[in-house]
Structures are given as C-alpha cells and as structure tokens.
C-alpha cells in the first residue's frame, strides 16, 4: 500500500541523512523500522508524512507512493485526509488542551457529523479506557503512558488507513510499553490499520511486527520477516545483545566493530 523507492533526504541542503532507502508496507501489516540513534528512522517517517519541509529537510531523490499515487508533494494535512497519520516521537500532545480536546483535534480534517465524531471518541475510549478517566485533565499533566495513548488516540480520530508510529516505547516502563503494543496489535487486527513502526526497542518491535527493516547510517542494511530477523545471528548480537555464546563481554567490542563493517 505504501512504497518508498530509493529516497534520499538532505537537510539544510548539505546534510545527507537518507542515502537511498526503499521499503514497503503492505495493507493490514505491521512493519518495523529498526536501528540505533541517528540511523534515519524518524527522517524516513517524516519524509512520508511530509513534515520534513518545516525542518528544512527535502526528499531529493526517489519517490514515495501511497495506493499507487505519488505523495511526495502533498501537504501533511492532505495526507491525513487520505489516511496517513504520523504519531511523532516524544508524543507531542497539546499540553494545555484536555485529553478529550486533544483527541478532537485529531478529527480536524474530517467533515463528519457531531454524532459520528462522538461515536469515534467512544471507540477510542474503548481502546484506551484510561483516557476516558483522564479526559478532562490537561494532557500536560498526564503520565508518559497516558500521553502516548492520547497521541495514538488522536491519530485514530482521523480514521487513518496507516499510522506512522515513531518510537512509542520511548521513556515508558516495560509494562506500559507492552500495553501500548498490545493495543497497536488490536488496532491492526480489528480496525485494519497498517503500521509503520520506528523503534529502538528491537526485541518488542519484532515480537509484534510482521516484517522488519534495519536501518544504519541512512541505508537499509537488512530486511526480512520478523521471525527471521529475530533468529538472525547478527541481529541477535548487534541489537538484542545476545550471541550464540551467551552474553558477550565488553572485551569483545573489537570483534563487534569488525563484524559490523560489512553491514554498513
């Protein structure tokens, strides 16, 4: 459904961040985009949602297609209308708005009736019962987990086909991370929402995703079914911190570097 073909992204006309990334998100799937800090995960998502422009970034090569049509020139609000919504890293809730008002802003692009929107609001509350309890609180005063839920719920209010979910686990307790990923899976199977999921938490991401891409230095260095990636020796060693010989000692760091070279 979403296809990225060999895109290159440059910030400020000089900083080359993505050096030819291609990936695909088929309808109804959860695809994970993995990699360390600065690998280009967020940039990839922002290239799709077209939030790059406001950060002085630019897609200079390649193309991005959604349902067979090119979307590299559409504005963010146009994309939301067509069903692609990004949930940004670090939540970005509207702090001074209440949780419910936050959710309602998500429906901005829709010209649905009041009743329809109220109904959708209830649906979001059904997925995130905790938000219903907190709905009159200013979102700035809610917990990190609740803010992440608000951000995802806000995206849902746009009735998206695809959510670009950036680092949902950031700064959250493992239990809350688990809770949020369960809901993502639910949304995927019940509402048919496709997800492109950028994550550093490789372990959790690969458990919930169908397919994965590993990004390093702005290039896709590996891809495959989540199951295959999880059992792949290199992924295990580099991203999950495990190896055939059990946990590695720090003395073997050199070995790690040497092997990593072929990846980059």
């Amino acid at each position: 459904m979403l296809a990225i073909n060999n895109i290159e992204v440059i910030y400020d006309h000089v900083i080359l961040v993505l050096k030819g990334v291609s990936l695909e998100v088929p309808q109804g799937r959860i695809v994970a985009l993995l990699g360390g800090n600065g690998a280009g995960k967020t940039t990839t998502l922002k290239a799709i949602s077209n939030l790059l422009r406001s950060e002085r970034g630019e897609v200079t090569k390649g193309s991005i297609e959604y349902k067979g049509e090119r979307i590299d020139r559409s504005s963010p609000s146009e994309l939301v209308r067509r069903g692609v919504v990004q949930v940004m890293e670090g939540r970005h809730c509207f702090q001074h708005l209440t949780v419910e008002e936050n959710l309602l802003t998500g429906a901005f692009t829709r010209s649905a009736s009041r009743a329809q929107i109220a109904q959708d609001l209830e649906k979001v509350y059904a997925y995130f019962p905790r938000l219903k309890v907190r709905r009159k609180s200013q979102s700035g005063y809610t917990s990190g987990g609740e803010q992440q839920m608000t951000a995802i719920g806000r995206a849902l209010m746009a009735q998206p086909n695809m959510i670009l979910l950036d680092e949902p686990s950031m700064g959250l307790a493992p239990q809350v991370v688990e809770e949020i990923f369960e809901i993502v899976k639910d949304l995927n199977s019940k509402e048919g929402v496709s997800f492109l999921l950028a994550e550093q938490n490789t372990m959790v991401a690969l458990r919930y995703a169908n397919y994965g891409y590993i990004l390093e230095n702005g290039r896709v260095v590996m891809e495959g079914d989540a199951e295959n990636l999880r059992t792949n020796e290199d992924v295990k060693e580099f991203y999950l911190g495990l190896s055939s010989a059990g946990r590695k000692s720090f003395r073997d760091a050199k070995h790690y570097r040497r092997r990593k070279r072929w990846l980059a």
Binding site: S54, S77, V85, F94, H96, E101, L104, F108, A158
Partner: protein
C-alpha cells in the same frame, strides 16, 4: 462616596477600552505563541483606513466598515503568506522580530496612503453623561464609554465561545501549543494563521474605531498598544477573559490611584519625612508599576496558562 463610584465606574469603562486592544494580542499569542508587536500599528492602520475611506469616497459608517474589514482580512492573509509562512517552526524570537518589522512597515504604509494629519472620527456617539443615570443615582457616566464597554463585552463572549467550543478554535489552541504536532494531525497552519490574523485585524478595527473616536485618529494610536501591555501581564497572555479582567483592574486602579494616591502620599511623606513632592500624573505610570509587581508574584498572569514542566 458618590465621587468614589464615579471614579471607579469611569475607570472600569476606560479599562474596557484597554481590554479591546489587549484582545488582539491575546488572539495571536494564543494561536501562534507570538507576541505581536504590530498590534498597535494594526489598530492605527484600521482606524486610518476607515476615516480615509469615509473622507475620500464619502462613504457612510456602514459602507466604510465592511470595506475596512475587507482590507484587514486581506492584510491578515498577506501577513501569513509573506511573513509567517517562511518562518514555520522557527524560534519564537524570530517571529517576534518579524512582527516588529511588520509594525514599522504598517505604520509607514498607513501614513503613505492616507497622509499624516490628525483626523476626527465620528461614530455618532457622544461622550456625554447618560441623563437617566444622572437623575436617578446622581452619577456621571459617559454614554460613549458604556457603549464601548458593551461592544467589548460582546466581542469577548464571542471569542471565548469561538476558542473553547468550535473546531477551528480548538485547532488554534493546538497550534499555539505545538506547531509540529498540529501539522502532524493535519491542521493546515497556513489557513489557521490567516484566520487568526484576520480576526485580530477585526479586533484591531473595533479598537481603532473606538479609540479613534475618542482621541482622534493619529499616530499616537499606535501607543495604546503600550497600555495593553500591563493588561496582558495582569490577565495573562493566553486568556480572553484575562484581557477583560486585566483591563478592568488596570482601568479602575489607575483612575483611583490618580485621584486618591497623590494627596494621601504627599500628606504621608510630608508628615513623617518632611518631604514635599508632587505626585500628580500618577495615572501615566501606575499601570506599569502594578504589572511589575504582578510579574514578581504571578508571572503567568491571573488567567494565563501555567507553564507545564515534566520532572
């Protein structure tokens, strides 16, 4: 006592006039987090355009009003296109500097087009006491002030509903909180900003008409914006209600201070310290003193949004 009430009411009504100007600031601050230095210039431009249209084409009040409103809306759209659009996601200080430039530009253009002489603006409202009140309560209350207060009250009510209950209003507040997130949920910043600046233009027009009718349309109108500053500090930059309450407090305390403080203070100083000074003219700076004290105690203002920090 009669005199006290007269001063108090006069002050409150004058305060509403400050609120009118403060409202324009609040609108833009709420929607983009920017202190719009050009608000005073917009008030001036609106009033001058209104009078200019009346003079040049002999238009009646109700003909000049929609035309001037049209000019202000076009101005709002233009500002978005030329000034704000290239500055999306830039630091607030950059936007603030841009509004300073805008202020000088608007002042220049207004005088270039309509000339620099002082003009009279007649709204058909007399600045004279209302007779019925005078007879019944023996109070002098200006008809002009009362109408101005009603207009301001109406504006506030409409804006409060607009911000809190409507889809666009909610989007405006969302944009003020987080530009990027607003973009991400599909709120088109360009349209939103064009709307806000147009509405701010409308408020500037109303303020310009009332202030212009009272003081004459002249360059000094741009300085009424300075009087709005203490109002904003008191009421809070983000609050429509705060602009009104702040205006009332500033207006009333200023007038009361002017009437009562000088004699009290000079008596006190003379008696205890044997100093004799003349404190008349306290009205000119009392509001700023009050704002300064307020900044120390409650920097976000009475109704402003508290800064939310995660710890």
């Amino acid at each position: 006592m009669q005199f006290f009430f007269e001063v108090l009411i006069g002050g409150l009504l004058a305060g509403v006039m400050y609120s009118l100007v403060a409202l324009g600031f609040v609108l833009i601050y709420k929607a983009s987090g920017v202190f719009n230095f050009a608000q005073g210039a917009m008030v001036f431009l609106a009033a001058l355009t209104f009078v200019g249209l009346q003079e040049k084409f002999g238009l009646p009040l109700w003909g000049a009003f929609p035309l001037t409103l049209g000019v202000m809306v076009l101005l709002g759209i233009g500002i978005e296109r030329v000034v704000l659009r290239p500055l999306v996601n830039q630091p607030q200080i950059t936007l603030f500097m841009a509004t300073i430039g805008l202020a000088f530009f608007l002042e220049g253009v207004a005088q270039l087009v309509w000339g620099t002489e002082v003009r009279r603006l007649d709204l058909g409202l007399q600045d004279e006491p209302i007779e019925s009140v005078m007879e019944r309560f023996n109070l002098l209350i200006s008809k002009f002030d009362l109408v101005a207060a009603l207009v301001a009250g109406l504006l506030v009510a409409v804006l409060a509903v607009f911000f809190n209950k409507t889809r666009i209003g909610r989007a405006l507040r969302a944009v003020a909180d987080d530009h990027q997130a607003a973009l991400a949920v599909g709120i088109p910043l360009k349209q939103i900003w064009a709307i806000v600046w147009s509405v701010a233009g409308f408020v500037a027009l109303v303020a310009g008409l009332l202030w212009g009718a009272r003081n004459g349309v002249q360059f000094a109108l741009t300085f009424v914006a300075l009087k709005a500053l203490p109002v904003l500090i008191l009421g809070g930059f983000e609050s429509v209600l705060g602009a009104i309450v702040g205006g009332l407090i500033i207006g009333a305390s200023e007038k009361l201070a002017e009437v009562y403080l000088p004699s009290l203070m000079s008596d006190f100083l003379l008696k205890h310290y044997d100093i004799s000074i003349n404190l008349a003219g306290i009205e000119g700076w009392f509001a700023y003193m009050l704002a300064l004290v307020f900044l120390l105690v409650r920097p976000e203002g009475l109704f402003g949004e508290r800064h939310i920090d995660r710890v």
